[in-house]
Symmetry: C2
Subunit: 289 residues, 2 copies
Amino acid sequence: MTLGTTVYLNGAFVAPSQAKISPFDRGFLFAHAAYEVTAVFDGKLIDFDAHLARLEKTLKGIEILQPSEDLRALHRELMDRNDLTEGLVYLQVSAGDQGPRDFAGPEELVPSVFMFVTHTTLIGDVARDGVTAVLAEDTRWLRRDMKTTQLLSQSLAYRAARRSGAHLAIMHETGQVTEAASANAWMVTQDGTLVTRDLSRALLPGITRASVARLLREAGLEVEERAFSLDELRSAAEVFTSSTGQLISPVISVDGVAVGAGQPGPVTRQVQRLYFSYLGANPDRFAWL
Amino acid sequence: MTLGTTVYLNGAFVAPSQAKISPFDRGFLFAHAAYEVTAVFDGKLIDFDAHLARLEKTLKGIEILQPSEDLRALHRELMDRNDLTEGLVYLQVSAGDQGPRDFAGPEELVPSVFMFVTHTTLIGDVARDGVTAVLAEDTRWLRRDMKTTQLLSQSLAYRAARRSGAHLAIMHETGQVTEAASANAWMVTQDGTLVTRDLSRALLPGITRASVARLLREAGLEVEERAFSLDELRSAAEVFTSSTGQLISPVISVDGVAVGAGQPGPVTRQVQRLYFSYLGANPDRFAWL
């Protein structure tokens, strides 16, 4: 994963080290900011309309005015300037510097826009080999349906995972799985049913989650959207996550205990084939698939 | 409330408009930051040891290294440079710019330190006339005992209060009051008992709350530390908040309904007299007290 050489900040294209914001920015003082991360594969922005729609919804929810920028054109320009053909475009819209620190702030919160890209191989070792996970209590705020920068719980969960030698954390509350720390969680039951949590304020409505669910249904597979318990997770035949950054990641162990056979399972491979094809990648390129 | 002319940022004293941070600062990307606000009255830092101790605890909890700065000397220097004799010193310690965005980040998170002061009259109209409050669902994360910049719930609650023409919001969950949006909440029951919520992960251990409880007990008054319901709040004889910025604020109405007689009550006035004396202010200075 390599950071691009040019970032965007409120009208200017500059080197990452040249980008500077005010520490009075409400994104810094109050975590008053929305963000989106869009995948780029083979030069194409994936599910961009859905990302824009979710951003618009988050901004309304946290009372920031919509940016005046043409965000689609800006994504393309930043991709061009960075020669990005595969990777991620990060976009953060914060409530900006509105003068002296005040919880409420002015009625109209004019946004501040920050964007950068990272070059990364989207379909790589993680997709092939899978990841290990630990469990973590979900301590996030209650409006997880909005994609904001209140990400401290997730950061701490990732740090705990790393200390355990694991790749990521799967979060839970009251005995039920909510989602992974930056991805939606899926399981395949022993009788082969695909399950992911139903949408509510308790989890992010993942864009990749939605696309995967649609692709699976179009392929004639059943997807159950419902809460599932830690016990169900532990006894699942397969577990995987869906996200923009990691696409479909097979989870091969949870808290050190193998999931199923301890390697990516057949249903997960089928999901990967469907989703990689949707991105425009020929599954035959990947011998392991 | 007037912002000082000089702020502190990682070793430099500069004008507020000259202070710039990287948008890759983890405080901006992940709300990975702790903060404290210390009151200054008559040139003295109030309860500074307690603020330092809480900061240290929060930083440990969110895994940021302790700053190498002598924070006490820095507070004094910033006060001197701004001729601050009454007001607030704000201190934010974020996890800094640790390179490309990564939820976990490096093992050692070297802090970034930002400070500014505001000149304000601590014992003013609010203390005299009281404030109006609205109720708001407490949607914060579950580690409210740590003072972090995950403050979006509070910002939105304050914004909702302002739209209703109220000063502040009192937050609640499962029918129980947790605290006000940036203060601890207290009530006086009809039989004159002072009640504030007991400490747990559900609320901030306010420094002013602790000092007030101690002063009240030293004065021979009973303080019950326990959860109390919205019904109890609505039928209370008096309600007030305690905080560094607003000290003791009488709450004269909740959601438009008068608390008690709809004006600051006698127990609240007693609390103010005790606390203002503790600050070194002669209560006789205030004719309304």
